[in-house]
């Protein structure tokens, strides 16, 4: 086949290389993390305290990321706002903790294997229930209001209220206290500071999840479909993919992750209430906003920023803790009104 076309150089295109300024702009969000950490170190002063707070912050951030990732992906792909996301967090926590309570022998044992086994069982149960709940939620509440943001907000808030109340019906009106499994209690000596074992675990789990999500999104065909769908759902359908199924799958994945986040958070706080999901939603929203709707990386950075900031400020100026997150959100929106790493939509 002979085709002569001008304007197609055989060499590596140089214009595709970004200027130093553009490179900085692209990586700026990622750089915020070490910058914040260093500022924290400067203000806090002592290494062990800083390390403890940083690990706490990262742990908290990871858990918020787990909860927020589903929400941001659902919005990016389906253009759906789910104000009821917090319900999945709460339900996940209650189911997980109930399973954990039932496996008292395992959690009480001085065996890490049994402890982890119990936690895994709790997590799997929580994820199964919230996944199913998410499926139902999408079918019944969300599907009829595709494309109508106001109604989505209203309906999902309604769903949140109803599910929260149902938690009360099933588990009673009171909060439930719990203790962590035996081997996950207490502290571990890490790099010169005594860090709560569970928090270290949370950081590890969060990292693993983030890496796993990135791999799925970047290396698998389904991840490809999701990333393409976020940009141009219509074209994805025109290529033969059933975007509807991908939607449902993403929504269920999101609710499952929220359930996982709920269990993790419950173990972190050592108390669960029906309203805990609702309370977390404030931070989840802040994270999703500053990360950029639809961006998993953005949510990751945003969550870690929020976690770190919250812990640093709680130590330095306790009364300003929650307000500091609003301040962070305002600052970032002033800098980038669409969030740090917004997804470019074709529409």
């Amino acid at each position: 086949m002979s085709v002569q076309s001008e304007g197609a150089p055989a060499h590596r295109p140089t214009f595709a290389a970004l200027s130093a300024r553009d490179k900085l702009a692209k990586s700026a969000p990622f750089l915020l993390l070490p910058v914040l950490a260093l500022v924290g170190l400067a203000l806090i002063g002592t290494w062990p305290t800083w390390l403890t707070l940083t690990v706490s912050g990262l742990a908290m951030g990871m858990m918020i990321f787990v909860m927020a990732s589903g929400l941001t992906l659902v919005f990016g792909l389906m253009d759906v706002i789910n104000f009821g996301h917090g319900a999945f967090i709460s339900v996940g926590a209650f189911v997980g903790i109930s399973v954990l309570a039932g496996l008292g022998d395992w959690t009480g044992a001085a065996s890490l294997a049994l402890n982890i086994g119990a936690v895994l069982a709790a997590v799997i149960a929580a994820m199964a229930v919230t996944g199913a709940l998410g499926w139902g939620f999408e079918r019944v509440l969300v599907r009829p209001v595709y494309g109508a943001h106001l109604r989505q907000i209203l309906v999902t808030v309604g769903g949140l209220i109803v599910i929260e109340q149902m938690i009360h019906v099933v588990w009673g009106p009171d909060e439930i206290f719990l203790t962590r499994p035996e081997m996950l209690k207490g502290v571990t000596l890490f790099a010169g500071a005594a860090i709560e074992t569970y928090r270290l675990l949370a950081v590890v789990v969060g990292l693993v999840l983030f890496v796993a999500m990135r791999l799925v999104l970047r290396r698998t065909k389904i991840g490809l479909i999701v990333r393409a769908g976020v940009q141009n759902g219509e074209m994805v359908e025109a290529l033969g993919y059933q975007l509807r199924l991908v939607f449902v799958g993403t929504f269920v994945a999101g609710s499952t992750l929220a359930g996982l986040g709920g269990v993790m958070w419950g173990l972190y706080q050592e108390v669960i209430t029906a309203g805990m999901g609702e309370e977390m939603m404030i931070l989840v929203f802040v994270v999703v906003i500053i990360g950029g709707l639809g961006s998993v990386e953005g949510a990751f950075i945003g969550a870690l920023l929020v976690g770190l900031l919250q812990n640093y400020v709680a130590f330095l100026a306790p009364k300003l803790a929650l307000v500091s997150n609003i301040g962070l959100m305002t600052a970032i929106l002033m800098w980038r009104p669409e969030g740090m790493l917004p997804v470019v939509r074709a529409k």
């Binding site: 943001h149 209203l154 808030v157 209220i161 019906v169 009364k319 997150n325 009104p337």
Partner: protein, 352 residues
């Protein structure tokens, strides 16, 4: 007569009748329903009608979804509380407090309104949620100023207090300061409500509706959408603050739980949606329904829960503490099946 004030009537005989009944019931509440509880409910209805209507101005007429409305309510309430605490009892304190709260609310609304222009509508909704919760936490934490979690208790003019008794009896009820307080609340609430009706049925209100339908078009025709939106936000905040001030005068107590809680925000949302968005009348209807439900439905549910004790799940579902569950279900149903709310439904019937 309603037409005189608002230019747009209820447009449905049934609705008009219901509203008249509500109006009369509230006007003569102290005499029709003697007792402390009934009066409390009536006052609560008056104030929440104004609050819900102010939210409808925002949500129903301007199309802006905000979860920070209780902030303005709280500003009005805390204004009166702080003024009364620091200036001593008296009408001056009430006046100063109300004006201060109003000014603060409008100023804050201005800032928020301008900020909302930089971000998308969805962002805005989420941001208001975050801001509202921050303000609630702040109010609890700055206890030196706001009395923290416990709130502020203060004195109001003696003339409005329950201790004051007039040598006057109407329909077997002695006129006390409390009743005078009630009529103050009622009169001002009515005035504010009618004022809001006037506003939405004025040219300004019509432009708002046009913007809500299609803001691109409105801008193209020549209306500065930004100005209208910000003005509507400020008006909405102002009315909410005034409602808050009335609440403070009535309760003689202000705290984060009575003014800033998310429960109240949800209540207002439910009131407006169930009643009918973008109608103002809907807010009145919704508020009345919700407050009555809160006060009396729970009793009913307690009875029902007791009666079904044999079936634990049913009993727990009917537990009076679970009234929000049923309201939530009603809310969801109304979004789907009555998107125009009760008012919309009644009007549709009347039109047929």
């Amino acid at each position: 007569m309603i037409r005189l004030f608002s230019g747009e009537g209820p447009r449905s005989t049934i609705l008009a009748l219901i509203l008249i009944v509500i109006g009369l019931a509230l006007a003569f509440a102290p005499f029709l329903f003697p007792g402390v509880r009934a009066l409390e409910t009536a006052a609560r209805i008056c104030i929440f009608v104004v609050l819900a209507a102010s939210y409808d101005l925002l949500l129903g007429y301007t199309g802006i979804v905000s979860f920070a409305h209780t902030m303005f309510f709280g500003l009005g309430a805390y204004g009166v509380a702080l003024a009364s605490t620091h200036m001593g009892r008296g009408f001056t304190a009430l006046g100063v407090g109300t004006l201060a709260g109003l000014a603060a609310a409008v100023a804050l609304a201005l800032v928020i309104g301008l900020f909302s222009l930089r971000v998308r509508a969805i962002f805005f909704a989420m941001i208001t949620l975050a801001v509202a919760s921050a303000v609630t936490v702040l109010a609890s934490q700055l206890s030196a100023v706001t009395g923290g979690e416990d709130g502020l208790v203060y004195q109001i003019p003696r003339a409005l207090g329950p201790a004051m008794r007039l040598d006057l009896e109407i329909a077997g009820v002695t006129i006390t300061g409390k009743i005078l307080n009630y009529y103050l609340v009622f009169a001002i609430s009515l005035a504010l409500f009618l004022l809001m009706l006037r506003i939405v049925n004025s040219p300004f209100g019509r432009v708002l509706q046009a913007i809500r339908e299609n803001d691109f078009r409105a801008e193209a025709i020549g209306y500065r959408v930004v100005r209208y939106r910000v003005t509507a936000t400020c008006l909405s905040a102002g009315f909410a603050a005034l409602a808050g001030s009335l609440w403070a005068i009535w309760l003689r107590y202000v705290g984060p739980g009575t003014t800033l809680s998310f429960e109240i925000m949800l209540d207002i949302l439910l009131m407006v949606v169930i009643g009918g968005m973008g109608t103002i009348w809907g807010a009145a209807l919704g508020a009345t329904l919700m407050v009555l439900a809160q006060s009396y439905l729970q009793n009913l549910m307690a009875l029902a829960a007791g009666a079904t004790e044999a079936l634990p799940i049913l009993s727990r579902l009917l537990d009076p503490d679970r009234w929000l569950l049923w309201l939530g279900v009603l809310f969801i149903l109304s979004v789907y099946f009555f998107p125009t709310g009760i008012v919309g439904r009644l009007r549709a019937r009347a039109a047929r």
